[in-house]
């Protein structure tokens, strides 16, 4: 047994890698099929400018989904991301439009305050659900309202606009057709992937999602890890808020309604288990892309608004069913 083991490491590594690739490939294939369908049925789908559009449109959901992946991996859920995004945006918007700040200072301070706002809500979500052992579904349902109310209170329900022109221009800049905003999201994907697969922290998060008690009895402070997962999610929301402002040049307390559902959908389509412990950031990236491609392609196809909504719903369900089959396939 040992001798055969020792002689096989290279081959074995290949086998595991293939298995991992196979897992992701299922979602990747689904994405490719969608792209294939839309590029044959519509005229403009595969044009450079449309690809730029799709990437822009995917960005915010992708960033929220990265954070959501951390929370769902530990078996939690964060329903507050849309509201917290609005809160972070109006805080950042207020800071950015403070009189007497030079544009670059204003942007930096605004970014910091957005991320700080997100982290604060993440800490709150994590602390309450971990300390009092309350399902995060309920806790974040509460903070969903708190953040939305706070955003309305801060702005007195008004929209903030007129950000520095350079910030505004940054939002629509591209590099070889790739929006800068999307590149930021990709960097976050890389960081998320690294943290989840290469660090002790990531390992323990997966462990908590699978068997919290075993992880606790193995001497890990589950409490801190849970708070950390929600805090990361909050931080991601803060970044998402700044990206939103750069893209649309406004910050309003009523933005982000329903964003949490899109983020959850991207994570689940990406193969992360809603009960925790299984999933990946790469899957989430593909899941967000599927949602973005679908939204874009269906408009190009000229389908009615209501048909679009129905088809999006079907695709979410089909993706999750396919994931079940893929799971069986890779297990056998």
């Amino acid at each position: 047994m040992n001798t055969s083991d020792a002689s096989l490491p290279g081959q074995m590594r290949i086998a595991t890698t293939t298995k991992t690739i196979l897992r992701e490939a299922g979602i990747g294939i689904a994405l490719l099929v969608l792209i294939l369908v839309f590029s044959t049925t519509t005229q403009h789908f595969l044009t450079a400018s449309n690809v730029t559009n799709i990437l822009t449109q995917v960005t915010i959901n992708l960033i929220l989904s990265i954070g959501m992946t951390f929370v769902i991996l530990i078996g939690g859920i964060d329903l507050s991301v849309g509201s917290v995004l609005a809160f972070c945006a109006v805080v950042a918007g207020t800071v950015m439009t403070l009189p007497g700040l030079d544009p670059s200072t204003a942007v930096i301070l605004a970014t910091l305050s957005a991320v700080a706002g997100g982290i604060a809500f993440g800490l709150l979500n994590g602390f309450i659900s971990a300390y009092w052992v309350i399902p995060s579904f309920i806790v974040t349902l509460g903070t969903l309202n708190i953040a939305r109310g706070a955003a309305l209170q801060v702005t007195n329900a008004s929209t903030i606009y007129s950000f520095p022109p350079a910030f505004n221009a940054f939002g629509s800049q591209t590099l070889y057709g790739i929006p800068l905003l999307f590149l930021i999201a990709l960097v976050l994907v890389a960081i998320g992937w690294f943290v989840l697969t290469k660090t002790v922290f990531g390992r323990v998060l997966y462990g908590i999602g699978n068997n919290e008690e075993a992880v606790r009895l193995a001497g890990h402070n589950v409490f801190i890890y849970k708070i950390a997962a929600f805090t990361i999610c909050g931080g991601a929301v803060g970044i998402g808020a700044i990206i939103y402002m750069a893209r649309l040049n406004i910050a309003s307390p009523i933005i982000g309604i329903g964003f949490e559902l899109n983020a959850i959908a991207a994570v689940i389509i990406g193969g992360t288990s809603l009960s925790g412990g299984r999933g990946s950031i790469v899957g989430t990236l593909l899941g967000a892309c599927i949602i973005g491609v679908l939204a874009n392609g269906l408009v190009l196809l000229g389908l009615s608004d209501f048909m679009r909504q129905m088809i999006t719903g079907f695709v979410i369900i089909i993706a999750v069913i396919l994931d079940k089959y893929r799971e069986r396939l890779t297990k056998a």
Binding site: K198, T199, Y206, N211, G219, N221
Partner: protein
């Protein structure tokens, strides 16, 4: 090797007949030609190491899995269940090793779940429901359980009996019992055997899966031994011996290893002293006090619910003790959580592998390093090469049988899963190991290996505290045994005084005084 010796009930046609049944999972052969038959009114034991194919065979019988080859005849006609429902319709009832109860429903609802009595408005008729459940429980002698209680509030032994009562609700021709006594105390086991005898008299054929050969010899007519997915032996119980069964099961003689005794060095320093340590759920205000020495294997015996697991949990700070104190190497310590206990050189092999010990859906390597991630990481970054190396080393030390370190722990047999739990703590180089039922659901071969391993650890100077419901296990392994009853130490036995009767006497002491009250 297959002996179809003449049977005392030879004229009886087999009710169920399997021949050449095979099943593979991907590249793994689980069953490779199993032949086996069941006659009406007999109790037929199925024995074999974990991983020998018993669970797969049962799953095929009850329609959870489909066979790849072979034939199954039930009452003379081909039997090919595709769902558990098919099996139930055909009159085959299975009591699984893992509980299939709904914890927050009442005992009555669980027992009658498959056929809830309804009144004419389609609403569950509670009166009939409770009557039926009462009857079912009474028939297996569980008169002391209120059928309205939620299952979650029952102890593990009672849950097992409720599970059996539920299986008996259906009209069954064949009853398969998978390790029914694993969680039962001696008294409850007796009760179960009486039920089995009654069913036998009614002509029900019973397949009885057990690791306890004494039980097999007590109640079974015939026995079939499985090894590596094959049936290697079938014969009348009267024509075989436990030694013969064991050697057929493992294919090698283990008796020596099982029976070996150990020279004990009693001069070892005290590793741990408990002073009136009291678990929050313990009714005993004066708690538990004793010393544990390095190099010592100290056993904890007692009935289910006597506070054994709670004792270990309060030492490990899995539950914070309500009162009392703990000295470690003579110094007073107070752990706030398992992390503190682990840092102080303590490991805890929990009773329930699936709930508390293992992360089944994560790789073996990840399980092995879970309690000591520092050893395989730097600056918080995992070194997967080190992790795999450590897993291979420890795996070799404890004779772990596995595919690759990257495989999920769920791919292992019960015995090997338990070894992974042990490896997790050994990776941490502990000085004290707390073990709760270290061989629960583990086959004979792995059991012997685990015994040898624990002995080697004690010889290396570790202090071991072993909780077990299997008295022979404690008697074989330990240097000293404490008997718990109602959350207090009811008695202490030195090696020369070990006997099952003495242990049971202490264990039932409180119990009896309760009954008289």
């Amino acid at each position: 090797m297959i002996e179809n010796s003449s049977s005392p009930i030879k004229s009886v046609e087999p009710l169920l007949q399997l021949s050449g049944v095979a099943k593979r999972f991907g590249g793994v052969v689980a069953l490779n030609g199993v032949s086996f038959d069941l006659r009406p009114g007999e109790v037929h034991a199925l024995v074999g190491e974990n991983g020998a194919g018993k669970s797969t065979l049962i799953k095929i019988l009850c329609g959870i899995l489909q066979r790849d080859a072979g034939t199954i005849m039930l009452g003379g006609v081909p039997y090919d269940p595709h769902t558990p429902g098919d099996a139930k319709l055909a009159g085959i009832q299975v009591v699984h090793q893992e509980f299939n109860l709904l914890p927050y429903l009442s005992v009555a609802e669980n027992i009658c779940f498959e056929d809830l009595p309804r009144n004419r408005f389609g609403i569950v008729d509670r009166r009939i429901l409770h009557e039926r459940a009462r009857k079912a429980l009474d028939s297996i002698g569980l008169a002391d359980v209120d059928v309205r209680r939620p299952v979650a509030s029952l102890g593990v032994a009672h849950r097992q009996l409720v599970e059996i009562a539920r299986a008996l609700m259906g009209e069954s021709r064949i009853l398969v019992l998978d390790e029914p006594t694993a969680t039962l105390t001696a008294r409850e086991t007796k009760r179960l055997f009486a039920i089995i005898a009654a069913l036998k008299a009614k002509g029900v054929a019973i397949a009885f899966v057990s690791h306890h050969l004494n039980e097999v010899f007590e109640i079974c007519e015939r026995v079939t031994v499985l090894r590596n997915g094959q049936s290697v032996m079938t014969c009348d119980i009267s024509q075989t011996t436990p030694d013969q069964l064991v050697s057929n099961m493992v294919g090698r003689q283990l008796a020596a290893a099982m029976a070996a005794t150990r020279e004990v060095d009693k001069s070892g320093r005290t590793a741990l002293s408990l002073h009136q340590l009291r678990h929050p759920a313990s009714p005993n205000e004066s708690g538990v006090s004793f010393d544990l020495h390095y190099g010592e294997m100290l056993g904890i015996a007692g009935l289910v619910g006597s506070g054994r697991t709670e004792l270990l949990r309060s030492i490990f700070a899995a539950d914070i003790p309500q009162s009392g104190s703990l000295d470690r190497d003579g110094k007073k310590v107070s752990y706030r959580n398992p992390k503190d206990a682990i840092a102080d050189g303590i490991g805890f092999v929990t009773e329930d592998r699936k709930e508390e010990g293992l992360i089944l859906d994560m790789p073996i390597a990840a399980n092995v390093t879970l309690a000591n991630l520092k050893a395989v990481s730097r600056y918080g970054l995992l070194n997967k090469r080190d992790e795999i190396k450590l897993t291979r080393e420890l795996g070799a030390d404890i004779k772990l049988k596995y595919g690759r370190p990257q495989d999920n722990a769920s791919t292992l047999s019960g015995g090997n899963q338990q070894k992974v739990v042990l490896a997790k703590w050994l990776a941490n180089n502990p000085r004290i190991l707390l073990l709760d039922e270290p061989t629960r659901g583990v086959d004979v071969g792995a059991k012997a290996e685990i015994y040898a391993l624990l002995r080697a650890l004690a010889d290396k100077g570790l202090a071991l505290l072993v909780v077990s419901s299997e008295l022979p296990e404690l008697i074989t392994l330990c240097d000293r045994i404490l008997v718990m009853s109602n959350h207090r130490i009811a008695g202490e036995l030195e090696r020369q005084d070990f006997s099952e009767e003495r242990i049971l006497n202490f264990a039932y002491k409180d119990e009896r005084s309760h009954e008289y009250q």
